[in-house]
């Protein structure tokens, strides 16, 4: 289905024959539909999805306000490589997000209305940074040096709070399945089965691997580019996960 026909189907859906005689709402331009979708959980049909694109990506670089695991999307339609070089196709990259983080079972086809709208929005962000965005995944999890708790509290606010809510209480977290940090993650990895040292490694592992490399769940991985080891050390200090 071409984008024209997709738009037509969408338009006809709103003015279809037999509909109640009422004033139809103006159809949003595709790019605006895409912008809405960018911030909507409806990109996945899964009822347990908690994520939107904007959970992990800024549309454009936003300075130091938030630490997001994904790259800013302006420039994405011009890039030739994604996921640190593990993908070379934007739609496949998007589907990797949908299936891994958003629990979508079926891939999105390029001619689906959602895909057309999202792509129109991404195009509207251009020209962005068309360069390959580095994304280094730490495969081998090793302990980190101690950090600074005050700085770590700021890291938590910028990198973790959007999904996990406030530390120790989880106020404002995305959903009840998102663990309150650090307590619920420690409960899932209790002593003495997990030593204090391994509990600390589990936090490092989850931050670095997310849902991948044998851990599971829906969390995205934080690369060393967006969250250097020093920041992670500070974060662990703020959470009191000291390995001792």
């Amino acid at each position: 289905m071409s984008r024209h026909v997709g738009w037509l189907v969408s338009a006809l859906g709103l003015v279809g024959c037999g509909a109640p005689a009422a004033r139809a709402e103006p159809t949003q331009p595709l790019a605006e539909q895409g912008e809405t979708l960018f911030a909507s959980r409806k990109l996945s049909p899964s009822s347990i999805n908690l994520f939107t694109c904007s959970t992990c990506h800024d549309a454009r670089p936003s300075g130091d306000a938030r630490i997001k695991p994904g790259a800013p999307l302006a420039g994405a339609t011009l890039r030739s490589s994604f996921w640190g070089g593990q993908e070379n196709d934007l739609l496949l990259s998007l589907d990797a997000c949908r299936s891994t983080f958003m629990n979508a079972r079926d891939p999105l086809a390029a001619d689906e209305p959602q895909a057309e709208a999202l792509y129109a929005y991404l195009e509207s962000l251009e020209p962005g940074d068309a360069g390959t965005v580095p994304f280094t995944v730490v495969r081998e999890i090793a302990n980190l040096p101690r950090g600074d708790a005050a700085r770590g509290a700021q890291v938590f606010e910028r990198a973790c709070a959007t999904c996990h809510g406030t530390p120790h209480e989880g106020v404002g977290r995305l959903g009840l399945r998102v663990p309150v940090l650090p307590e619920e993650t420690l409960e899932a990895h209790p002593a003495p089965t997990y030593s204090a040292r391994v509990q600390r490694l589990v936090f490092i592992e989850k931050t670095r691997h997310g849902a991948f490399l044998g851990y599971g769940g829906f969390m995205p991985p934080f690369s060393t580019e967006v969250l250097p080891d020093a920041n992670l050390s500070d974060l662990l200090e703020a959470l009191g996960v000291l390995g001792e």
Partner: protein
């Protein structure tokens, strides 16, 4: 197109019996298709092309074997973070398809990766478009898929699983340690995972596989049982197990079949022998040749000549099958061809060799002088290249 769309919209609106107050429809943003695929295309254009899966780079290198250049290295796999471990690309030019397996080796060192024993994760058989390597379909197979082969009539794919976790299971029941041979009909619909798949329990750590000309028999190098197994692909059962060699421990690994299907070449890595077998219901050993190193995948030149890559020391050996003798042997330095693993003759008699490298940096494909076996050209590929698939012009 835009005018046509407007006309259709107008027609539809006017065709409605009810009177609606219709807002003007917006213009589509662009006439371009959404998510256009921008990856490179690899047209054959009368060239000899090569495809190599790079096991530790999660990519396929596409080579112009006439110019000995890399046309592109394309990422492949299903997991954008984990190492998919693509192995052994097999081309079907008539179908415009390239097949490979994703083996998911254990590469992460972390509490959960260790706790889960690295999986074992099920592997996948992947179907890609030959011209741009876009995914066409996949079939989930068993853990540790290793080698695959396409039958001459292109109606059957066979995949081994050298599952070492299963092989090392602490049980006296050998059947509990035996991994399967996956049989897949590539003509079935792989695009939605609905391909016809049969898993035939075969042997302990089956490594390599060759099919008979008619595809009714699969010959399997059984590393963990020291045998060559024969699988009836129609009856889906093992019908024979033949000793891989004369020593108490031979460790068969690589296995290739001659073009006409009359001979098998089995490489025994501990015994360091190459055993030439007849084909048929019960293959018979015809010759056993000592190799100068650890033998890998031998390339047949017709029915009368074999080129055997060896490692430690690195080199190749030419075997005259008419006299069952080693006719020639050469060695290579690490900086010319480190860890050669797969020899291939093209239809016009050119000779190519895959050099794995040190498994952490780029490997290479080299072209050999057919007479002297000296390296005459080289092209670097990705990390830890697997076997070479050649697509003739």
């Amino acid at each position: 197109m835009r005018a046509l769309v407007r006309s259709l919209a107008l027609f539809t609106v006017l065709g409605c019996t009810a009177s609606h107050d219709v807002a003007p429809a917006p213009e589509p943003a662009s006439s371009d298709p959404a998510f256009p695929r921008r990856s490179p295309r690899f047209e054959r254009g009368g060239r000899l092309l090569g495809y190599v899966a790079n096991r530790r780079a999660d990519s396929v290198s596409v080579l112009d074997l006439d110019a000995m250049t890399e046309l592109g290295e394309v990422p492949v796999g299903r997991d954008p973070v984990d190492v998919d471990g693509p192995r052994h690309a097999v081309a079907d030019p008539a179908a415009g398809a390239l097949y490979l397996v994703l083996s998911y080796p254990l590469v992460a060192d972390s509490p959960h990766a260790v706790e889960n024993n690295g999986g074992p994760r099920d592997g996948y058989l992947l179907e890609l478009a030959l011209d741009d390597l876009r995914p066409l379909g996949s079939v989930r197979v068993a853990p540790s898929p290793t080698e695959l082969v396409l039958s001459d009539d292109r109606r059957l794919l066979a995949v081994t699983h050298q599952d070492t976790v299963l092989a090392l299971k602490n049980t006296p029941d050998i059947d509990a340690r035996r991994a399967s041979l996956a049989l897949v009909q590539p003509t079935s619909d792989m695009s939605d995972g609905a391909a016809t798949l049969s898993l035939v329990p075969t042997c302990v750590a089956p490594a390599a596989v060759a099919l008979s000309g008619d595809g009714t028999r699969a010959y399997v190098a059984c590393t963990g049982e020291d045998t060559l197994a024969v699988v009836d692909t129609v009856g889906k059962a093992v019908t024979a197990r033949i000793p891989a060699g004369a020593l108490p421990a031979n460790k068969p690994y690589a296995l290739t079949r001659s073009p006409a299907g009359t001979r098998l070449a089995l490489s025994n890595q501990v015994a360091q022998t190459l055993v030439v077998f007849s084909t048929g219901d019960v293959p018979a050993p015809l010759a056993t040749l000592p190799t100068s190193g650890v033998p890998f995948f031998a390339g047949f030149h017709g029915e009368s000549e074999l080129l055997v890559p060896v490692q430690e020391p690195d080199g190749v050996m030419r075997v005259d099958l008419t006299t069952a003798t080693i006719a020639q042997a050469v060695t290579y330095a690490d900086d010319t061809c480190q860890n050669p693993s797969d020899a291939h003759f093209s239809a016009d008699g050119r000779v190519f060799l895959v050099c794995e490298g040190n498994h952490y940096g780029p490997g290479s494909v080299v072209e050999l002088d057919p007479s002297t076996l000296a390296i005459i050209a080289r092209v670097d590929v990705g990390v830890y290249p697997d076997r070479l698939a050649v697509v003739e012009p």
